[in-house]
Symmetry: C2
Subunit: 163 residues, 2 copies
Amino acid sequence: MTDDGGLSPAELEAFFALEEVGSLLAHAVEQQLRSVGLTTVQFKILMSLFAAADGQLRMTDLADSLVVSRSGLTYQAGLLEKAGLIARAPSPDDDRSTTVSLTAGGRERIFAVLPGHMEVVRRLLLDPLSPEELGTLSGLLTRVRDHMRTDPPRSAAPRSRKK
Amino acid sequence: MTDDGGLSPAELEAFFALEEVGSLLAHAVEQQLRSVGLTTVQFKILMSLFAAADGQLRMTDLADSLVVSRSGLTYQAGLLEKAGLIARAPSPDDDRSTTVSLTAGGRERIFAVLPGHMEVVRRLLLDPLSPEELGTLSGLLTRVRDHMRTDPPRSAAPRSRKK
DNA sequence: TATTGTTATACTCTATAACTATA
DNA sequence: TATAGTTATAGAGTATAACAATA
């Protein structure tokens, strides 16, 4: 009658805990980002560029990795460009493409946010754990993340694959 | 120069893994919920009522626990009521308050979603872990969650607390 | 006076579809 | 023909402020 999908109590417990932890952490981070005038999406865009190998990405690749529509990314990129945090330029190899890159101002903004960002994470996530426990948690989550990445994202299908 | 807030590599690793796991899982769950005509917020509302001690909550308490504005909740409650999933009635003890409760249809909808919901969770989160690891993860996350709950949510301040 | 809930309103964001330019 | 990116547009959702009713 009360079919729960066959999950054990332990499984349900882990799931609900993860959902709540993720939700509370996301909210706290969002509040902190607001203090420097960034939304979560915008921060993700900046961090993606920051993490990119050569510091730049194509619009479409960026949209796909963030799982947003291209038009949605165009909108956000317009805001970030107007704020002087990113720059868009035609790609050298393919004239259809636009290459996005972080400006010096964008890098500064990242450095301006990170300390507070980390402080929130530390207070909410890290404080209650011992160093050993942190390592354990990190290891487990990394395994899960890697699995998520390789697993065909049937439920998080990329954009245009209209096939 | 590249101030990262003083977090160790292990801490950063745990943080980024958690952010990505939470993000990917949230997205997958959102896609699944869409198949039964619910948004994430609406599902959370239903689950909050389902989990409530006596199966009902005041509008304000519900809004606070979900960290949304009261007007925002009024909007969503209107949709859910129109869909016959919840019911609103004046509170017996306080005539200013409105008590929200799940209807039979609302309960049915929950049972309709849960199996698929759990399937997504199982595939993404639980599959790569052994039962022992699951227990460990669950324990750690539960600790973190409890800490988050007790810690003054300075960054997730409730609504009206205007001082 | 303070609180509960709703409403009116404006704004942000996102996606779909149409369009331009290039491959 | 297919792809990259933008634009026009429309829709969903959220919050602020004003309001009515009650404590």
